[in-house]
C-alpha cells in the first residue's frame, strides 16, 4: 500500500495521530487533476436556462456555465448541477487549543479538532493560510475525512469541539453543516472561524447547528475591503448582527495592519459600531500582523499601535478587549469589567489561572459572559 493511500484510509478512520495528520497534508508540489474530489450537490443555488447556475451562498452570486467554477475554486457547475468538490476532503487537520482560534470565552483549556479544505471566497492580501485558501483542491494534498471520521477523531483526541477554520468554512458549507449535525448528535460542540462573507439565508440555517463563531473583521471601510480583501463589508457587518441576534457565542478579531487599517478613526468607528449594534460584552481581539503573502513589504504591527487600539476600544465602552499574536502580553488576560481583577490568566495559548465561579468573577461576582463549560 502506498503512503498516500495509507494516509487516506487511516485518516478517514481517525486512526492516525495529530502529528502525522498535519505533517502529511500541508504540501505543495502535488497538483493532480485526477485527484479524488467530491461530487456532492451544493446547497443555495438556482438553476438557470441552458445549464447555467447562480450560486447564492455568498454575496458574489457567481453565475456559471457548464464546467465553470465559482470564485472560491471549490464549487463547480457540471451539466447544470452545482457541486461542492471538497465535501469530506480535508487538507488540514489538527487538534488545537481553543484559545488559538482565538476563543477566549468559550470552553477554556480544551482542544478543538480543527479542519479545513482548500478554497476561499475572498482574497485577503495578508492571508496567513494562503497556501490552502488560495488554491484549488487539486493543487494540494487532502485526505478523505467524512463526517463520521471527524467525530471519531475528535473523540480520540479528547476534543469536545470541532473547529471549521484555517481557510474559509463558508466555501465548504455542506461539509461543515453535515459534520456539525452529526457532532451535535454525539454531544460535541461546533465552532466556526470565518470572514462571515456569507449571505443571510445560509448563515441563518447554519446557526442552529453551531455553538460559537469567531469573525475576522478585516477593516471598517469598503475601500479597504475592495483593495485588500476583495469582499463586501456590508455583508460582513450584516452577518455579525445576525450571529449576535442568535444564541451562538460570538467573538471578533481585527488584524491590525500598519498603514492600512490602523487609523484611529476606523478603529473608533468599528468599536462604536460593535458597542451600539452588538453590545459591549462581545470580546474583541486586536491581532498583530506579520508580513505575509502579498504584503511582505509591510512591517509587523508595532506594539504601541496594538495598545492604542486596545485603549480606544475600552474608551468606546467595550468590556473584553484583547491583544493577540503577542505572547505573554498583559492584554491576553481577561479582566473583570467591574472590579478590574484578573479572572483568566493566559500566556499564549496556555491558561495559568481561572478566577471564575459559575461563570462569575470570583472576586465581585460580576457575571463574565461566555460558555465556560
Amino acid at each position: 500500500m502506498k503512503r498516500r493511500d495509507f494516509l487516506k484510509t487511516a485518516g478517514a478512520a481517525g486512526l492516525i495521530s495529530r502529528k502525522e495528520i498535519t505533517g502529511a497534508l500541508m504540501d505543495f508540489g502535488c497538483f493532480n487533476s485526477d485527484a479524488n474530489l467530491s461530487k456532492v450537490e451544493a446547497r443555495f443555488y438556482d438553476k438557470l436556462p441552458d445549464h447555467e447556475i447562480e450560486c447564492r451562498l455568498c454575496p458574489r452570486f457567481c453565475r456559471l456555465g457548464d464546467k465553470e467554477r465559482g470564485y472560491c475554486g471549490v464549487r463547480e457547475n457540471i451539466g447544470g448541477t452545482y457541486y461542492t468538490l471538497v465535501h469530506g476532503k480535508a487538507c488540514t487537520v489538527q487538534a488545537d487549543p481553543i484559545e488559538k482560534k482565538p476563543f477566549f470565552h468559550f470552553l477554556p483549556e480544551t482542544l478543538a479538532l480543527s479542519l479545513a479544505t482548500a478554497g476561499c471566497n475572498v482574497n485577503c492580501k495578508f492571508c496567513q493560510n494562503w497556501e490552502i485558501s488560495q488554491v484549488r483542491p487539486e493543487q494540494i494534498r487532502h485526505i478523505d475525512f467524512p463526517p463520521p471520521a471527524v467525530i471519531r477523531s475528535a473523540k480520540r483526541n479528547n476534543c469536545p469541539s470541532i473547529a471549521y477554520t484555517y481557510s474559509e468554512p463558508v466555501v465548504f458549507y455542506e461539509y461543515m453543516y453535515d459534520t456539525a449535525l452529526e457532532a451535535r448528535r454525539d454531544h460535541l460542540r461546533n465552532v466556526v472561524v470565518t470572514s462571515a462573507h456569507i449571505n443571510t439565508k445560509p448563515l441563518q440555517e447554519l446557526l442552529p447547528v453551531v455553538d460559537a463563531i469567531k469573525v475576522d473583521l478585516k477593516g471598517f471601510n469598503q475601500d479597504f475591503y475592495t483593495r485588500y480583501v476583495r469582499g463586501n463589508l456590508r455583508c460582513v457587518l450584516d452577518s455579525i448582527k445576525t450571529i449576535a441576534a442568535s444564541p451562538v457565542w460570538l467573538e471578533i478579531v481585527y488584524l491590525l495592519i500598519p498603514t492600512l487599517n490602523d487609523d484611529d478613526a476606523s478603529i473608533r468607528g468599528m468599536c462604536r459600531w460593535i458597542r451600539d449594534e452588538i453590545g459591549s460584552d462581545v470580546p474583541l481581539h486586536f491581532s498583530r500582523f506579520y508580513p505575509m503573502y502579498l504584503l511582505r513589504n509591510l512591517p509587523p504591527t508595532p506594539l504601541a499601535s496594538l495598545e492604542r487600539a486596545h485603549q480606544i476600544a475600552l474608551d468606546s465602552g467595550l468590556h473584553y478587549v484583547y491583544i493577540g499574536n503577542v505572547p505573554s502580553h498583559e492584554f491576553e488576560n481577561t479582566y473583570c469589567p467591574h472590579c478590574g481583577e484578573k479572572v483568566i490568566s493566559r500566556k499564549g495559548y496556555r491558561i495559568s489561572e481561572i478566577n471564575l465561579k459559575h461563570g462569575n468573577c470570583r472576586f465581585c461576582r460580576q457575571p463574565i459572559p461566555g460558555v465556560w463549560k
Partner: protein, 295 residues
C-alpha cells in the same frame, strides 16, 4: 509614422470538411498566417541550441466540443517543423492532463519528440514562489516560467459571460494557479496584468486565435445554438490587436443572428482597452493593418 500592427485572418471553408478538420488545409492556413507575421516573429531555429523551446499554450477547458483539438495544434506544430524548429523543442500544453485528454490529446512527456502535457504533470507543477505584479499574486506554471523560452498563445475565440471575450490574452489565465480569483470586475484589469507579468510578457511571441468554430453567445460554455463554423485562424504578434479583431468577429456573428452586440449587452471586453493603456498593443482600428485571405 508609427508602424501599424498587422492582424491576419486566414479563412477556409474547406478546413471544415464533413469528416472533420482537414489537416492539409489547416497546415496551409498556418503556413500562410506565419508567412504574413514571420518578419516580426522570430522562431528559435535548429542552430539556437537545446535551451530554447516553444510552448504552444492551448485552451482545453471546454472539453471536446469547445477546445483547440489535436488536428489544429498538431497542424501548427508540423508547420513549425517545416520552418526548421526541432520537434523536441515544441511543447503543446494546458493546465491539466485531464483536460488535455478530454479534448482528445494523447499525452507525451518523453524527452524526445513533440511534447504534450499539462502543468499537473509530476515534476512540473506551479512554481512554489509567488509572482507579484500590480494586482496579481499568483504562482505560475513551471512550463511558462521555466521550461519554455518562447510562447505562442493558440486560443479559442469565445464569448465570455464576464470578460466579454476570451481569446489570446485570457488564454494565459491557464498559466497561473488561481485564475478563479481574477473574474470580478469583468476580469479587468487582471487579464491585462497577468499578461504583463514577466513569465508571459518576456516570452510571448505570437497570438493565434482558433476561430474555426466560434462560440459567439452564452460562452464560455458550449451552446450549439450559438456556435458557428467560421473557418478562420487569426494571427498577430500584437496580442491586443488580435483580441480586438476577435471581438469584432464575435460581434459580426452576433449581428448576423440578430443578437445585440457585446457593448449593447454591457459586456464589451474592458480588458482590451486596459491592455492597450498598459502599452501591450493596440485596439485602435486605424493602427491595425488587417490582412484577410481565403484559402
Amino acid at each position: 509614422m508609427k508602424r501599424r500592427s498587422r492582424v491576419v485572418i486566414i479563412r477556409s471553408r474547406k478546413s471544415l470538411s464533413p469528416d472533420g478538420l482537414s489537416p492539409r488545409i489547416l497546415e496551409r492556413m498556418f503556413m500562410r498566417g506565419l508567412s504574413h507575421t514571420a518578419e516580426s516573429f522570430s522562431l528559435p531555429r535548429v542552430h539556437t541550441g537545446n535551451d530554447t523551446s516553444i510552448g504552444i499554450k492551448i485552451n482545453t477547458i471546454g472539453g471536446k466540443a469547445l477546445s483547440t483539438g489535436p488536428p489544429v495544434s498538431l497542424a501548427l506544430a508540423r508547420t513549425l517543423l517545416k520552418r526548421d524548429v526541432r520537434e523536441e523543442n515544441i511543447l503543446i500544453w494546458d493546465r491539466t492532463n485531464r483536460e488535455l485528454r478530454n479534448a482528445g490529446y494523447r499525452l507525451n512527456m518523453n524527452r524526445f519528440g513533440l511534447k504534450i502535457y499539462g502543468t499537473d504533470t509530476r515534476g512540473v507543477d506551479y512554481e512554489s514562489r509567488l509572482t507579484q505584479h500590480l494586482r496579481i499574486g499568483s504562482r505560475f506554471s513551471a512550463i511558462q516560467a521555466r521550461l519554455i523560452s518562447h510562447s505562442i498563445s493558440l486560443a479559442m475565440l469565445k464569448d465570455h459571460g464576464l470578460a466579454g471575450v476570451t481569446a489570446g490574452l485570457k488564454n494565459y489565465f491557464g498559466a497561473i494557479h488561481n485564475p478563479n480569483k481574477y473574474h470580478d470586475n469583468r476580469c479587468t484589469p487582471y487579464i491585462a496584468e497577468v499578461f504583463d507579468c514577466n513569465p508571459v510578457k518576456s516570452k510571448h511571441r505570437l497570438t493565434i486565435l482558433d476561430a474555426l468554430f466560434v462560440q459567439y453567445h452564452r460562452g464560455p460554455a458550449f451552446h450549439p445554438s450559438w456556435n458557428k463554423a467560421y473557418g478562420g485562424l487569426v494571427f498577430s504578434t500584437d496580442p491586443v490587436a488580435a483580441d480586438f479583431i476577435g471581438w469584432r468577429i464575435i460581434d459580426t456573428l452576433r449581428a448576423k443572428k440578430g443578437i445585440p452586440s457585446l457593448k449593447e449587452e454591457h459586456r464589451e471586453p474592458l480588458y482590451i482597452r486596459t491592455a492597450e493603456s498598459m502599452g501591450l498593443g493596440t485596439a485602435d482600428p486605424n493602427a491595425i493593418e488587417l490582412v484577410e485571405e481565403e484559402i
